[in-house]
Chain length 428, copies 2
């Protein structure tokens, strides 16, 4: 009976859980695959580094290149992350006839096409469910379950760190800095939290989601990005007053046949299914023409959940190897244009401190209408010697909305703009 040989590249928190499952679940995996799956090597940077799992010393190697180019490996699991050497190793593995499972969102979002073309040329699989939203099966449903439908929109909470921080700000009233510190103490945020907090991680995932949802190639350079470091306690309080909550969203949409992909904080109504995604959980909300609204929810990170997604891919890829076939692969036939952020449709929530005198509301309303933006609601709150206007617009292009805010800033009656945030997930 054929045995399938697996090499694992990287043995950090995910890699060690993959190695553990490959060992502990060997019998179940063999039953599911239809042949034994044998771990033949684990590439690491340092042989003597401490790790969460015991690896037989004969399996450990620092020569990742040698491991994937020996021609003896059927399946390569790439868990190194980053661009290089991960890209070279994946390309080498494919050239030498191995199928690949990867969790490398940065690489796939930056240079997926090089990898997909290499997989196509080699006639091998490249699967990467673990690259987006950890254990949540979202790429496979997009690629396969919804393949007969037309996806129109994807809204995702795809970064656990920022969701934890925003959830803390919402439930405790804390400011960004305090909430981030708590996240760091609890291990939900890195010492250098930039990749999460500034939306880089979510932007890579948005590029992957948009590519799959719309059958087109979208790279991270196509994704508009704003992080959460400028979200204030006042923004969160203002959201609360309109029965909304602030989330960092990855939004992928079709507009007139073009793709728009963006990551930014947004207010969403508390009645929206995404609003109930708490702590470091992730969820992806999908709108399609026939299926309607779907949501996929679960842990977005962590060694063990991510390893579950890797193993799911590994079973499929292994079965394909035995059947001498390939899975669905990438589908980029639609080759859509990418819409600039300025042309994306959204709506704004703007809190404005204004002089408390007659005609103020009319002047503000005129500023909106001069930019072609219509107002959905205005709430006026008197204070001692000034007043607060809270405006929620109807949908308009981001450029019209940004121009309106710029205009407001220059008005004599406007003392300060205390909060500007996009609003998503409301029915028009």
């Amino acid at each position: 009976m054929k045995r399938l040989k697996v090499a694992v590249l990287g043995c950090g928190s995910v890699g060690s859980q993959v190695v553990r499952l490959l060992t502990e679940q060997a019998d179940d995996l063999a039953a599911r695959v239809g042949a034994p799956v044998e771990l033949v090597g684990v590439a690491v940077r340092r042989l003597d580094a401490p790790r969460e799992v015991e690896v037989a010393p004969g399996l450990l190697t620092t020569d990742a290149h040698g491991l994937v180019s020996g021609g003896e490996v059927d399946l390569v699991v790439e868990l190194i992350g980053g661009i290089e050497p991960a890209r070279s190793l994946i390309l080498t593995a494919l050239e030498h006839g191995a199928s690949v499972v990867s969790a490398n969102k940065a690489l796939l979002a930056e240079d997926g096409s090089t990898l997909f073309e290499a997989a196509e040329k080699a006639g091998r699989d490249l699967y990467y469910e673990a690259a987006v939203a950890g254990a949540i099966p979202i790429l496979r449903p997009l690629r396969e379950s919804l393949a007969g439908d037309t996806v129109t929109r994807v809204l995702g909470i795809v970064n656990g760190t920022t969701n934890f921080v925003l959830d803390k700000m919402d439930t405790t009233g804390a400011g960004f800095t305090d909430a981030l510190e708590e996240a760091q103490e609890l291990g939900y945020a890195e010492a250098d939290p930039t990749a999460d907090v500034e939306g880089f991680d979510a932007a890579a995932k948005a590029a992957i989601l948009a590519s799959l949802a719309f059958h087109s190639r979208v790279t991270v350079a196509d994704v508009y990005r704003e992080g959460i470091s400028e979200v204030t306690a006042a923004d969160v309080a203002s959201a609360r007053e309109m029965d909304a909550v602030v989330k960092l969203l990855a939004i992928c949409e079709l507009k007139d046949g073009a793709v728009a992909a963006r990551v930014h904080p947004a207010m969403i109504p508390r009645s929206h299914p995404l609003a109930s995604v708490r702590e470091a959980y992730n969820a992806v909300f999908v709108e399609s023409e026939a299926a309607g609204q779907l949501m996929f929810y679960g842990p977005g990170a962590g060694g063990s959940p991510t390893a579950s997604a890797v193993l799911g891919d590994l079973v499929t890829v292994a079965r394909n190897r035995l059947a001498e076939t390939r899975g669905t692969g990438e589908s980029s036939y639609a080759a859509r244009a990418v819409l600039p952020m300025g042309e994306t449709l959204t709506r704004y929530h703007v809190s404005i401190d204004v002089a408390d005198r007659a005609g103020v509301l009319a002047a503000v309303a005129t500023a909106f209408s001069e930019h072609g933006v219509s107002i959905q609601t205005v709430r006026q709150e008197g204070r001692d010697d000034d007043a607060q206007l809270v405006v929620v617009s109807h949908r308009a292009t981001d450029r019209q909305l940004a121009d309106t805010v710029e205009h407001l800033r220059g008005m004599e009656i406007v003392r300060d703009i205390t909060s500007v945030m996009r609003v998503e997930g409301m029915s028009e």
Copy 2:
């Protein structure tokens, strides 16, 4: 270039949407499949029946058997429902070399093994994502994404009618009969609502979910079933008092290597992700060893959403045909025993009207402990001349709990037991 020929059996609300999508999305489908997909016949009972989609007259036939046995069809979509003639038609289609997509939960739950064996023998696919939870991709994630993990529990809201009725009872305080009438008026419940209300529909889905989750064959006869027709406004109010909500749950669990599958109303905490599933939506909550907690949410029924799931399967099955391969297929290698309901672990919520005198609580507590059931919480509420005890137990076998309730009913100090309901989704 090879064209794939598709026959659709049944042209009701789902069938007509499938026919519409096959026609309208023909170009996209061809791109996703890799070859044109051509509708060659639609089998109906009456040629002149009114339908939601225009079907070219030459395609309509009343001879379903002739359509699937002509040997010219690559893919058969079975949307007739029920046991016969659906079973014979699927078996004939497989024998004649067609791959099959079905949405027939009743047939799969009653006699899936006959179908799976026929598909295996024919070397063809049998896919049925649409049979459980409409458009929500749940079977594919269970079968493929979680194939490297060990699922331990599935909790599903898999019947939209009963969820609508229970949601109405929760939000308006209505009784079962009034809520059901409203559901019927709005088209969420049939004129004869038995299949939904008494849990038969959910039980068929539970059998399918348990089979896939635990790699074993579970039929509808193995599923314990209670409907919602005896859920009272008092039960719902009692749930509300403990910050819980009543849902009809399909529960599939592993216990000591055996499978337990059951459908019954249960109280779940409002903080549980399933509690926020409103109206006629469905959701399936999955617990697994490595991935942790996942939830899949969306519309559980309706022509268009169900057609989306059918088309997703059709694309996969069509691609497999072109590659001359099969998909994952059924995996029943684990061949697990089925646990009787009495041995299933659960917990009870019991509301008891008792005589208001000293020692009542002690007597009731003694009754629980005599059956080996420990109590988690007791709430005592005084009334005019009697008192109400609300007891939530710790986990015990269903038999121990049922015996306890039987014992309580026979006690002299117990005037009435006003509500008995299982509680799920609480941490122990």
